[in-house]
Amino acid sequence: MATELKMPQMGYDMEEGTVVRWLKEEGSTVGRNEPVAEIETDKAVVEFESEAEGVLLRIVASEGSIVPVGETIALVGLEGEEADNVPSAGSTESTDSDTAIREELTSESERHEVQEPIRNTTQESSESTPTTRILATPVARRIADELGIDLKQVAGSGPGGRITKKDVETFDPASSTSTKETNFEMSSSETPEQSPEEIPETVSETTDPSVNSMPGEKEPLSRMRQQIARVTVKSKTEKPHFYVSAEIDMTKAMVLRKQVNDQLSDDGVRITVNDLIVKACIESLKKYPKFNAYFQDDGIQFNNTINIAVAIAGEEGLIVPAILDCGSKTLRELSQMVKDLANRSASGTLNNQEYTGGTFAISNLGMFDVTGFLAIIHPPQSAVLAVGTVAEKPVVRDGELAVANIMNATISADHRIVDGVEGAEFIVEVKRLLENPMGLIV
C-alpha cells in the first residue's frame, strides 16, 4: 500500500501551500525523513520530508501548484506498486480535509446547542407594533399590553415624557382626552367582551364577584372586570352606535335543523341554531362587506377574511374568540369549528389570533328567555349581531293565525362606516337566509 504524502500543516494558521520544487523525480528512491520537495508557506520555504521510505511512485502536485493542507501531493511506495486511484490535488473528490470540514460543521452546530440562550424572565410579549414611536419603559409597555391600554392615550410623566409603570397603572380611560381612533392598539391576548353574552352550547355559571359581597362594602374590580369596563366605555365613547332590529321566523330552520341532526347523528354532528346564524352572517357579510370592515384614520379598512367572533363565557370571564377565515366553510364545518372553539376556550388553548382576530361578532343570549337586546360593538370591529331566544309565537300566515318559531335579532353598527339603510339591508339579508335555510345547507 503506497503512502500518500500530503500537503503538510506548517503552523496553526496555514491553509494551503505551494509546491516550489521537487527534489526527487518520480521513480527515485527516498528514505524516511528525507527531503523530497520544497514547500512554500506564507512564512517561508521549507523542505518537506517523506514520512515513508520507498520509491517516489508519482508526483501528484506539479511544481508551482497551490495545494490545500491535507491534500495528496505525491505517493511513495514499493517499486512497481500501483499508483492509481489517487486523485490529483485540487480534485473535487472527497478528501480527508473535506471530511474534517464536515466534522467541524457538525460539532459547530452541536456546540450551539449546548450554549444557553438568553432567557427573559417575563413572558413573551404579544405587543402590537406601534405605528408611531411612543416613549415608554419596558415594564410600562408590558403592563399596558396586559391591561389592554393604548399607550397613545397615556400621558408620560417620566424624563422626556416617557410613559412609566405608574402612568399606566393610574391611567383612567374615561378622562383620556385623546380622540384619535386607535383600534389596532386594542389587540391583546386577553381582550374582554363588551357585554355578558353566551352561546347555548357553552352555558356555564358566570361568577359575579359582587354576589358574595356584603352590603355597604365596596368590592374591588377584578382584572377582567376592569378590562370590560375600559373596553365598553371606549367603544361606546368612540363608536357612534345605531341599531336595526328584525323578527326572524325560525320555523323552517328549526325543522331543517332537526332533520339534518337526525340524519347525521351517527356522525356525531349536531347543528345548533347558532351555527345557522353564523352561516347566515357569513353569507350576508359577503354581500355587505362594510360590516366586515373597520374605521381607521378617516377611512374604511376592509378585512381580507371573514372571522366570526362568538361570545363565550369561560371560567375567567367572557371572551370573544373568532372562527378564523370562515368565509368558505360549510355549515357542517362551521359547526365543528364553533364546537372546537368552545372546547379550546374552556381548556385555555386558544391562540392569540383567535382571541383578537374577529372581524364581526355574534352575541347570543338565546338560552335565556329574553326577547332581544342591544350589543356593544367589540373594537376594532364595526358591527355585532345580538340574538335572543327562539320562541313559539302566534303569527298571521296567509291570512290565518299560525304558530311560528320567532327570534329577535338586532344589528349594532358603527355609524361612521354605515348608515341605517345599510343596517336594514344587512339584517334583512340575515333574515332572508334564515327563513329559507336550505340555502345555508347546500
Binding site: Q9, M10, Y12, M14, N33, A44, E51, D96, S107, R111
Partner: protein, 330 residues
C-alpha cells in the same frame, strides 16, 4: 562520550530506548501535525533527548517536575503513557487532560509531573512554591526539578525565583536547556552574559555548572551530583545543558535565522547515535538489542498513534467542567 561513570547494561538499555521513544514520538507528532490531527502549536524535542533522559529517571517518585511547553520529552521520560500523551496532542478525551491542555500543557499529577507551562518563565514561581511546600512540610528530602530554556532567563520571574529560592534555601534543581535560540533570536542577541548562562546563577549564590546536553552520560553524572547536593538541604543548584533543537521552534518556524551547516554540524553529534555507538563499543548493548528496541519503539509509537486516532473527542459537556475545583470536604 566522555564519561567515567559505570552504567549497567540494563540502565543503558533503558536510556537508549527512552531517548528513542522520545525521538520517534516527536517524529510521529510532526506527521500528525502535517495531517491536521495535531493542531495549535507543536514544539518538538528532537535533538534534546539526552537532557530529559539523562536527568529525570534519576529522580524519586516523591520529587516533582515542572517545565516549559516543549514538554513531550520530559513527560515521556517521567513515564507518562505515550498513548495518553499522543491522545492529548490530538485533542482526544483519553488525553492526559482530556483534550483541554494540548501539546504545551501536559500534566500528570499522580506522577508529580506538574505541567508544561506555556508562558515563558511562568513555571519559575510555581516551582519555588512547590519547593517551599516541600520544605515547610519537612516530610522528606524531596525536590523540584524545573526545566526552562535559554529564552526564559531574561524574564523577571526567572530572577525573582532564583533570588527567593536561594534566599529561602529551597530544594530546586534549575535545569536550563540552552538550545541557543529563543524562538528565532540567538542567545547572544538576548543574553548580556552571552552563551554561557550558568554564570548568572552565581549572582544569586546558587551553585551552577554546565554540561554537554547531547551527552547523556555527562548530563546524568551532573544531575546525580546536583540531586545529592539539593537533598542535603542547602538550597538550589543550577545546571545548564548545552543543546540544539534540530527542527524549528514550532511547526510554523521557517528556520531562516540559522544556516544548514550549523544544523548539520550539531546533527553529527546526535545524542542517540553517539550513545548507541558508545554502548556497542563498550559491550553494553548488542546489535540484536538495538534492532529489538527499534522495533519495540516503532510498534509502541504506532500503537500510540492508533490509540489517539481511535479515541473519542471530548464530550461537549466537558467544556464546562473543572473550571473550578470543588470545595474541600469538611
Amino acid at each position: 562520550m566522555t564519561t567515567t561513570i559505570n552504567i549497567e547494561s540494563e540502565q543503558a538499555l533503558d536510556m537508549y530506548s527512552t531517548m528513542l521513544l522520545i525521538r520517534r514520538f516527536e517524529e510521529a507528532t510532526e506527521r500528525l501535525y502535517q495531517r491536521g490531527m495535531v493542531r495549535g502549536f507543536l514544539h518538538t524535542y528532537i535533538g534534546e533527548e539526552a537532557i530529559a533522559v539523562g536527568a529525570i529517571p534519576n529522580l524519586r517518585e516523591d520529587d516533582y517536575i515542572i517545565g516549559h511547553y516543549r514538554d513531550h520529552g520530559h513527560a515521556l521520560a517521567r513515564g507518562i503513557d505515550p498513548n495518553s500523551a499522543m491522545a492529548e496532542l490530538c485533542g482526544k478525551s483519553t488525553g492526559t487532560s482530556g483534550g483541554k491542555g494540548g501539546s504545551m500543557h501536559l500534566f500528570d499529577a499522580e506522577k508529580h509531573f506538574m505541567g508544561g507551562h506555556a508562558i515563558v518563565g511562568g513555571q519559575f514561581p510555581l516551582a519555588v512554591g512547590m519547593a517551599l511546600a516541600i520544605k515547610m512540610k519537612q516530610e522528606k528530602d524531596s525536590l523540584v526539578m524545573c526545566f526552562f530554556g535559554d529564552g526564559a532567563v531574561q524574564e523577571g520571574e526567572f530572577h525573582e525565583a532564583m533570588n527567593l529560592a536561594s534566599l529561602w534555601k529551597l530544594p530546586i534543581i534549575f535545569m536550563l536547556e540552552n538550545n541557543l535560540y529563543g524562538m528565532g533570536t540567538g542567545v547572544n542577541k538576548s543574553n548580556a552574559g552571552g552563551e554561557n548562562i550558568f554564570t548568572a546563577a552565581e549572582a544569586y549564590n546558587i551553585p551552577a555548572t554546565q554540561t554537554d546536553g547531547m551527552d547523556i552520560l555527562q548530563v546524568r553524572e551532573t544531575v546525580l551530583a546536583g540531586i545529592k547536593k539539593v537533598r542535603e538541604g542547602d538550597g538550589p543548584v543550577f545546571i545548564e545543558s548545552m543543546a540544539y533543537r534540530y527542527h524549528g521552534h514550532s511547526m510554523a518556524d521557517p528556520t531562516n535565522y540559522r544556516d544548514n551547516t550549523e544544523v548539520e554540524k550539531q546533527r553529527s553529534r546526535d545524542p542517540i547515535d553517539s550513545f548507541k555507538a558508545f554502548c556497542l563499543e563498550e559491550g553494553l548493548l548488542t546489535d540484536d538489542d538495538i534492532s529489538r528496541i527499534d522495533e519495540e519503539i516503532d510498534s509502541k509509537i504506532q500503537e500510540a498513534v492508533e490509540f489517539a486516532e481511535q479515541s473519542p473527542e471530548p464530550s461537549l459537556d466537558s467544556l464546562y467542567t473543572n473550571i473550578y475545583a470543588a470545595p474541600e470536604a469538611q
